[in-house]
C-alpha cells in the first residue's frame, strides 16, 4: 500500500517537473558558422593531442630525440614498473577514500540545510568558501602549516592530551591528509545536492507523513530516489576529478614520504615533462584514461538500476 502510494506520488512529481514541448529550431548552415570556433578548437587542441598521444604511447617518443622504435614496450613498462604500479594503487586508494567521504559529507549537510534553517545563506557560504579557495596553492600551503608536527591540528590534539603523529612525514597518514584537503571542499557538491533537495515536492513528504513514514524511511524511499540523478552526476564528476588530483600532493608532500602520495598524475608529469619521455608518459596516461572510462561506463550502465529520471528528455540530447 505504502509503496504504491509513493509510486503514484512519484508520477505526480514527474508531471510537475516535465517541461512544456519545444517549438522547432531554425534551420540552415548558419549554425555551423557559430560553432566553427569550437570545431577548430576541438580538432587542434583536443582531438589531435588525444590521437597523437595514443600513437606516441606505442613509441619511444622523446621530446628532443624523436622516435627510434615502436611497440608495446611502454605498456609492458607500466604494468611491470613497481613505482608505476604502486602509484596506480595509491591513486585508487586516494579516489576510494576521497569521493565517498566527500559525497556523504555533502549530502548530510545539504539534508540538514534543507530543513527550515534560519541563516541558511550564512551556513551555505561558510561551507562553500573552502570549495572556492581550495584549489589554490595558498590553501595547499595552509594545509602544510596545519599538519606540521607542531601545527594547528597537533596543538588541538595535545590540548586533548593526545600526542599527534607527524602527519606529513608518516607514510601511513600523508595520503589521508591529501584526501582531507579535498573532502574539506565538499561545498560545491553540497550546493548541488541542496538545489536538488529543494526540488523534491513538499507534498510527497506530507503525504508520506500521513501514511506514517518516519524520517529515515522518507529519506530512503522519497529523497534518495528523487535526487538520484544528482547523486549520479556528483559521483561521476567527483571521481573524474579525483583521478586527476595533482596540486595537493605536488605542493604539500611532493609525492613523499616514501612515495606514499605519489599519484599517477605525478608520474605522468615526471616522465613526460621532466624526463621528456613523451611515449612512456602517454602510455601511463592512456592506461589511466581507459580505467577512468571503464568506471564511467560502469556508472552509466549501472544507472538503470538506481538512477530515477523524472523525464526522458532530461537524459540529454537536444
Amino acid at each position: 500500500m505504502m509503496s504504491n502510494n509513493i509510486a503514484s506520488q512519484q508520477r505526480l512529481a514527474q508531471d510537475l517537473i516535465r517541461k512544456p514541448g519545444r517549438s522547432r529550431l531554425e534551420s540552415g548552415r548558419i549554425g555551423l558558422v557559430y560553432i566553427l570556433p569550437w570545431i577548430i578548437g576541438f580538432l587542434f587542441f583536443k582531438l589531435y593531442p588525444f590521437a597523437s598521444s595514443l600513437y606516441y604511447s606505442f613509441t619511444d617518443m622523446h621530446l628532443f630525440n624523436g622516435i627510434s622504435k615502436t611497440g608495446l614496450f611502454n605498456y609492458v613498462d607500466v604494468f611491470t614498473n613497481r613505482a608505476t604500479v604502486r602509484s596506480l594503487e595509491t591513486t585508487f586508494r586516494y579516489v576510494i577514500t576521497t569521493v565517498p567521504l566527500k559525497l556523504v559529507a555533502a549530502l548530510f549537510i545539504a539534508y540538514i540545510l534543507n530543513f527550515k534553517i534560519k541563516g541558511v545563506n550564512l551556513f551555505r557560504t561558510a561551507y562553500y568558501v573552502p570549495s572556492i579557495l581550495g584549489g589554490s596553492v595558498a590553501i595547499a600551503v595552509l594545509w602544510r602549516a596545519l599538519f606540521r608536527n607542531d601545527g594547528l591540528i597537533n596543538s588541538l590534539l595535545s590540548t586533548l592530551g593526545v600526542q599527534g603523529p607527524s602527519w606529513l612525514s608518516d607514510p601511513n597518514y600523508a595520503l589521508i591528509i591529501i584526501s582531507l584537503l579535498r573532502i574539506w571542499q565538499f561545498g560545491s557538491a553540497m550546493v548541488i545536492f541542496l538545489a536538488a533537495l529543494k526540488g523534491v515536492p513538499e507534498e510527497l513528504y506530507e503525504a508520506s507523513t500521513i501514511d506514517g513514514a518516519g524520517k529515515w524511511r522518507q529519506f530512503t524511499k522519497i529523497t534518495l530516489p528523487l535526487i538520484s540523478p544528482v547523486i549520479f552526476y556528483n559521483l561521476v564528476t567527483q571521481t573524474v576529478q579525483a583521478f586527476q588530483e595533482f596540486n595537493g600532493p605536488f605542493i604539500i608532500t611532493k609525492g613523499g614520504p616514501l612515495n606514499s602520495t605519489r599519484l599517477i598524475t605525478m608520474i605522468i608529469y615526471d616522465q613526460g615533462i621532466k624526463n621528456y619521455k613523451i611515449g612512456l608518459s602517454s602510455a601511463i596516461a592512456w592506461v589511466m584514461f581507459v580505467i577512468m572510462m571503464l568506471l564511467t561506463l560502469l556508472a552509466f550502465w549501472s544507472q538503470k538500476r538506481w538512477v530515477y529520471y523524472s523525464d526522458e528528455t532530461q537524459r540529454g540530447g537536444l
Binding site: P37, F50, V137, A145, D150, F289
Partner: protein, 293 residues
C-alpha cells in the same frame, strides 16, 4: 482533551530537540571548516615563534613583519605584486575569450538545426568526460613545437580559450539557453534582425545570469590554475601568483611562516572579494550546470 495537548506538547518538544541538534551540527561542522582559514589570517599577524605555539587565532604580540617581508622580493625578477599582475594578464583575457567563444558555440547548438548536429553534439558531450591529464603531455609537445611555451603572451593558456575548449561552460550555456523560450527570437526575426543581431540583442541579455556564472567560474579557476603555468611558463618574470606562492613556500619553509602565509593570503584576496560580491551567481551557476542536465 488533556491527552491531546500532552501529545501535542510532546511533538513540539521533539521538534525543538531535533531542530537544536540540527543547528548544533551545522555550527560545529561549520566552525571546523572555517577555523583553519581564520587561523591563517591570524597567523599572518603573528611572529614566527607564535604561529606554532598554540591554536589561538588572535595574535598575542601582533606584528606586521609577515606583511613587510611579503612585499620584499626573494631576489630575481619576480615579486608578489608582479606575479599578481601576471595572473590577471592571464585571467582577464581568458574570461573574456571564454565568454565569447562559449556563447557562440552554445547559440549554434541551442538555436539552429544543421546537418551532423546530433553527431557534433555527441562529440561535444564526450569531451566533457575527456580528462585533461591525457591531453597534458601531447599538448606540451605541440606547444613546444609551435614555440608557444614561455611565450610572453601566455599563448598556450589564453589562445585556446578563443576556441571554446572548456566544454563545461558551453554545456552550461546550452542548458540555460534551452530554458529560454523562443518567442523572442522569432519576434526579432520578424522585426528584420539577422541571426547575429538576434544573438546580441535578444539572446545575450537573456543569457546574462548564466554568462555571469561562467565568467565567475572561469575567473576562479584561472586564478587557481597551477598546472598550466607550471607547464608553460619558464621565465620567473612571467610567473603568476600560484607559482610565486609555491616558490615562496619552498624557499621559506621552516623559518618564515608568517611571510609565507601572508603571501598566500594576499594572493587569494581578489578571489575572496569576488566570491563575496557574487555569491548568489556562484550558487546558481553550479546548480544550473548539474540540475538541468
Amino acid at each position: 482533551m488533556a491527552e491531546l495537548t500532552a501529545t501535542r506538547r510532546r511533538i513540539f518538544t521533539r521538534q525543538r530537540v531535533s531542530s537544536l541538534i540540527r543547528y548544533a551540527i551545522l555550527i560545529i561542522v561549520g566552525f571546523i571548516m572555517i577555523y583553519p582559514l581564520l587561523w591563517m589570517v591570524g597567523s599572518t599577524f603573528k611572529n614566527n615563534n607564535e604561529i606554532f605555539s598554540g591554536m589561538h587565532i588572535i595574535p598575542r604580540n601582533p606584528t606586521l613583519s609577515g606583511y613587510e617581508n611579503a612585499m620584499k622580493s626573494y631576489g630575481g625578477d619576480i615579486d608578489l605584486w608582479k606575479s599578481m599582475v601576471n595572473t590577471y594578464k592571464i585571467v582577464i583575457p581568458k574570461v573574456l575569450f571564454t565568454l565569447f567563444s562559449a556563447t557562440l558555440t552554445a547559440y549554434g547548438f541551442g538555436r539552429f538545426e544543421f546537418k551532423g548536429k546530433k553527431f557534433l553534439f555527441a562529440v561535444l558531450m564526450s569531451t566533457l568526460f575527456l580528462p585533461q591529464v591525457v591531453l597534458n603531455v601531447p599538448q606540451f609537445l605541440m606547444y613546444t613545437r609551435l614555440g608557444w611555451v614561455d611565450s610572453p603572451l601566455y599563448l598556450p593558456l589564453i589562445l585556446t580559450t578563443l576556441f571554446a575548449t572548456e566544454t563545461y561552460f558551453v554545456f552550461l550555456l546550452i542548458q540555460f539557453l534551452r530554458s529560454i523560450p523562443r518567442d523572442l527570437d522569432e519576434a526579432a526575426k520578424i522585426d528584420g534582425c539577422n541571426t547575429f543581431q538576434t544573438l546580441i540583442k535578444v539572446i545575450v541579455p537573456m543569457l546574462m545570469p548564466a554568462l555571469v556564472s561562467v565568467g565567475l567560474f572561469q575567473f576562479m579557476w584561472s586564478n587557481n590554475d597551477f598546472m598550466g603555468p607550471l607547464l608553460y611558463i619558464n621565465t620567473p618574470a612571467r610567473y603568476p601568483a600560484t607559482i610565486y606562492v609555491k616558490l615562496s613556500m619552498d624557499a621559506d619553509t621552516g623559518f618564515e611562516w608568517n611571510r609565507v602565509l601572508a603571501v598566500s593570503l594576499i594572493s587569494i584576496i581578489p578571489s575572496l572579494v569576488v566570491f563575496f560580491l557574487a555569491q548568489k551567481s556562484f550558487v546558481d551557476g553550479i546548480s544550473a550546470g548539474s540540475l538541468k542536465g
